[in-house]
Symmetry: D2
Subunit: 402 residues, 4 copies
Amino acid sequence: MNGNRFGRLFQVTTYGESHGDAMGVVVSGCPAGLELEEADIQRDLDRRKPGQSMITTSRGEPDEVRIHSGLQDGYTTGTPLGMVIQNKDARSGKYEPFVTAPRPSHGDFTYSAKFGTRNWGGGGRSSARETVNWVAAGAVAKKILNENGVELKAHVNQIGDIEAPEVSFEEMLEHSEDNEVRCGHPETAEEMRDRIDEYQQEGDSIGGAIEFEARGVPRGLGAPRFDSVSARLGQAMMSVPAATAFEFGLGREARRYTGSERNEDWTFDESEAQGASEDASGDEPRARGDPIPVGNDHGGIQGGITTGQPIRGEVTLHAPTSIPKTQTTVDWETGEEKEIQVVGRHDPVLPPRGVPVVESMLALTLVDFMLLGGRINPDRMDDQPGEYETDYHPRSPENVDS
Amino acid sequence: MNGNRFGRLFQVTTYGESHGDAMGVVVSGCPAGLELEEADIQRDLDRRKPGQSMITTSRGEPDEVRIHSGLQDGYTTGTPLGMVIQNKDARSGKYEPFVTAPRPSHGDFTYSAKFGTRNWGGGGRSSARETVNWVAAGAVAKKILNENGVELKAHVNQIGDIEAPEVSFEEMLEHSEDNEVRCGHPETAEEMRDRIDEYQQEGDSIGGAIEFEARGVPRGLGAPRFDSVSARLGQAMMSVPAATAFEFGLGREARRYTGSERNEDWTFDESEAQGASEDASGDEPRARGDPIPVGNDHGGIQGGITTGQPIRGEVTLHAPTSIPKTQTTVDWETGEEKEIQVVGRHDPVLPPRGVPVVESMLALTLVDFMLLGGRINPDRMDDQPGEYETDYHPRSPENVDS
Amino acid sequence: MNGNRFGRLFQVTTYGESHGDAMGVVVSGCPAGLELEEADIQRDLDRRKPGQSMITTSRGEPDEVRIHSGLQDGYTTGTPLGMVIQNKDARSGKYEPFVTAPRPSHGDFTYSAKFGTRNWGGGGRSSARETVNWVAAGAVAKKILNENGVELKAHVNQIGDIEAPEVSFEEMLEHSEDNEVRCGHPETAEEMRDRIDEYQQEGDSIGGAIEFEARGVPRGLGAPRFDSVSARLGQAMMSVPAATAFEFGLGREARRYTGSERNEDWTFDESEAQGASEDASGDEPRARGDPIPVGNDHGGIQGGITTGQPIRGEVTLHAPTSIPKTQTTVDWETGEEKEIQVVGRHDPVLPPRGVPVVESMLALTLVDFMLLGGRINPDRMDDQPGEYETDYHPRSPENVDS
Amino acid sequence: MNGNRFGRLFQVTTYGESHGDAMGVVVSGCPAGLELEEADIQRDLDRRKPGQSMITTSRGEPDEVRIHSGLQDGYTTGTPLGMVIQNKDARSGKYEPFVTAPRPSHGDFTYSAKFGTRNWGGGGRSSARETVNWVAAGAVAKKILNENGVELKAHVNQIGDIEAPEVSFEEMLEHSEDNEVRCGHPETAEEMRDRIDEYQQEGDSIGGAIEFEARGVPRGLGAPRFDSVSARLGQAMMSVPAATAFEFGLGREARRYTGSERNEDWTFDESEAQGASEDASGDEPRARGDPIPVGNDHGGIQGGITTGQPIRGEVTLHAPTSIPKTQTTVDWETGEEKEIQVVGRHDPVLPPRGVPVVESMLALTLVDFMLLGGRINPDRMDDQPGEYETDYHPRSPENVDS
């Protein structure tokens, strides 16, 4: 209700304001026995942190995470992980003249309208600084997913009017972390970089988009309707600061397709049929493998439930609202119009730092569906004994029978 | 978790399958003292029901709602409303040959993959018949909103490649219920109608889009981030059957805009300033009214919280997957490919019947935010005494003090 | 929030008032493949229904359940079960003189204070008639539990000052349904029956208690603290109409025990050790079986988590408030005191009909913990193929790998 | 689901283990504009902290709270409060010999059975150290309640077989913080103190009970059944470490009362009628005041909803399980029985330090019901302007109309 909780079984709770003491996140529902250290989380925080390059804000935050609980001897204990990231380089003074004059299209005014007070330091909780918490939690989710056969990645596929061509998952993995823009197509990345520079020099900012993909997601995840994978991903992605659109599969373009164009015939997954002889399940092996759709215009989701094809979708992020260019606002105390130039340290474009944020929301959403669908043991990672291993695996026979 | 619940304080719970006995919905969190009768709900059900025109399925369902509880003497009692709609015209036989052969791009396969059983009758719970429940619940939400100054409407703004020009809220209200397509622009509606006919005659179907708008939503609703109005609307709209994209404000196009193009300056709401002298709140009247943004590219939401401007967005619905045209599928029992022609009674296009569904999801989302934001008394409509009125209004002073 | 929802993964939603059209309950989260028919539910409804004997209200309700959804060919489909029980014998007239004069210690006044309206027909939703929904849902939960090795039973262990001696689980099973009072100790049952008669003849009513036990609950269920088994059972049991106390294990008496008296030493479960050779888990069999506590003063729960010992606890129900004896009330409209004799059809004692209610709340609580602890496949009962079986068991290898 | 979250609108999320780095708690749903400083929280933490007296553990924790977020200029901002309490004096070494041998009746074994790992440091999350988080959150809840006319207090009313006589709320307030036992009856407190000493010298521990009361709770709070005040208090109180029974009103004794003995007649609240002339609500003043029950055997709750009378109930806490006396346990690694003497620093009795814990759970439960019942503005305390006050009170007319 209060906007700081995400997830149903894998539960994230966050706090922190841009210019406050510290950011913090509690992760509960992480099974025991996951090998985890602060460095696992730091890697993703470093991808999100400010000051990485000329196209990110120059605010100097090391964003070092400290894990307060939920770990013992390098493994999770099944109890909540409490994580804290100190804020170091907050300079609120720069905003003071605008305490009663909201920045155009920023959350300044709506936050004041809601809470009846102005959290003027760096935008308070409306700042995207909050997403540092999501990335910390997302790093844990990713690690669980990886151990359960799910891989995911995002990249920047559009900045302003520069669109990247469609890239494969392998290209995303290979190229998207090699350039400042985080685009999976290196030539386009350069163009994007130049375009961002132009806007930045004009004191302006620009919008863009992030495309994401997850591989290895088992079929049959998601519940009909309100808890469909598409609905829950919709909430997850529309939570990202500055998100104005969410799409999966053909997305917005699906409106132009006929049924016969978009529908994908079924065929047999021959690769599976070959492996069927090794099937230890006791079920009769299926002669020709399972049905799979020819193509992935459906983005991995049919009827709200996963098909086993890659989950693929896209999020649009509008241009940052805080820009040096002169704009007009009003002062609600004095009743006067005034000009405003937002001269703090701000990003000229959001998607490059948004990539780990989108990946995190994807990971958090998927790990929740894996838990809800019974694909991950909620209490204990299956093959990760800790030093004080007790052999009391929740699903082993001597526990279930009493 | 199970896909049949929506809402946090205004809670909807649904059940029912396409070819089952009955559909049902429980609405709880509706304040006492709302004047309500079955006819209020029937009006919206009639807009959604099949067989309205040549471009909807010919299934003959009267869709008559029966309210089992929560009403007394024509007013709600504050306790849950139980509503049931009988299924009358279900003909499952037509699907039988395809029990082990999924329809292309339909939820058939994913439901079987999840539940390990084939709910073959009319698609079972994957059928959009479920939305009859949403419309029944949405009708209650709309009525509460109307009594609290919020009006809303949706219309069809695209079918295939035919796009309607931008229409005003007043045009939506005036025109969208006058044509079978439910488009707020009459000339475009005719074109759309013709295009749908063409596809239908070819045994095909076509995609489209629905635009929605809500007026009178107070500013300051929504909680930062995961419970932002945009995130919750995202989940609501992506729950709609066949939804592949959700956008608000500039939506997907926001990626092409610079900050200076998209940002909206602040000005004073002079209309409010004039009314200020009548302000009974005891607060000092503001000389020049409250700040309002110049324009609504932000779609009524900034930083996830409402600005008081109209909430405006759009949902894309892909083409219906059940089409008479010949397609290819596989039979997982026999291991054979086979041709499939889906000859049941199906809609050739979804948005016309989807309009009341989208309105319902919008209403359910907004009434929840009104309750969460303290704008509606959770226990009792303020000015609607029932016959056995007791004067124990929860917020009247004699109740609060004890 | 609205009082009509119970359960986290196994979710129950109810509606209905004493003198309304019908009672209804939606159960979601029931796995597919459970063999289920209306008769399974009817058996428990018959144990709760009015008019069973001279010590229950004479209201004549057949309480026949109709399942609207979620079943196909005698098996659950994994989608929500919608169930409706019509109200047949409601006679509201008898309460009319007391519309603005509340019954002593009844929910009449508080419901009016909350909702600002008087749901005068039979107490509306404050009536224990609501529990018919719980018993219907509980019957489904019990069936799932039985198929997963958990058995449970409750019986009446006190009426007024007549206490039954401690009985074993086997005695509860054997005797408690053989007498009108539902006490597991036949001699005491007769005494209780006589005592109830005496109070009834005086136009009075009497309080009592219900003891419950569950066997076969695996160890390791429950989460620390707010979601401990004891906390969740506490909520479940305190929801029962007229409940004023909840206890487990030594309960209230634990306050008088020293640590050394109450603590239970650990020993080895030799029965388990013997079975270890048949252990198919691959884990090294434990030489001497698992640790088990010597005794069950802890009632099956330590640190909020199950030990594998029987879960045993108790609920106190106060005397029914609606009694023929003359009492004094006030009329809030007229401002006058008046005498009141509640002459409707009411039970003189609650525990006998409360036994299936307590069993239901126990079953609903436990099935939820089994699902949350990963002991039941959330999508599909493991060994119950339906007629249109598809072999797409969610956890079979061909589904998990994609 | 994971045991670290409490509350529906006023939401608490906790983390931390006994011997971990730090304890932490996130409070969200606290309205903006509450005057708050760390000292407000410290006061209650000091009442709970170890080492207060000879009858508490000697562990030396200063328990200093640090608020990371949600405050500005001494007032809450409406965004989540993140609070951290460092652990300073953890000495895990003492437990090492018992890593694979559980303490009798402690959560050691069940935690291992659940998570498959042994969080051996000080009991990990099963330790009552967790309640430091609850007290921090509860201090915030209490402050909100106080500003809304609700006062509450708890005291120790039984230790072993020593029972305090019934004390008034005023006596609780006056005496219960003046003695180490926290009993509202000074003479009994001395007896209790002596009895505890005796057990402590024998290397044993003893059980006890805490009684609580809340005054000024408005009538009409709570929702029927599963969300009744009694059901939610039941969950809250049964979450308290070592709780084995929860009761309200007559509690367990209600089983012995007839309806005519327990029922309380209605009369008029004459004190209210006198004040009615000053009623500013516009409602017709009631001639003789509102109905109130004669007596409070119902403990402030009828039909699960508050009557406006004091809420009064009781929790039983069993004796601490960690005692120096020799007990028997088993080592699950070696398969051997062994003797165990738990020589860490442990309390000989729980209620004295449990008093602020019970008060906190009561406060958290009540503030939630106040928010759910619309008695507290969810966004903003009504009369507490901050330094950067904006006058955008959510419910003032200029916000609601747009």
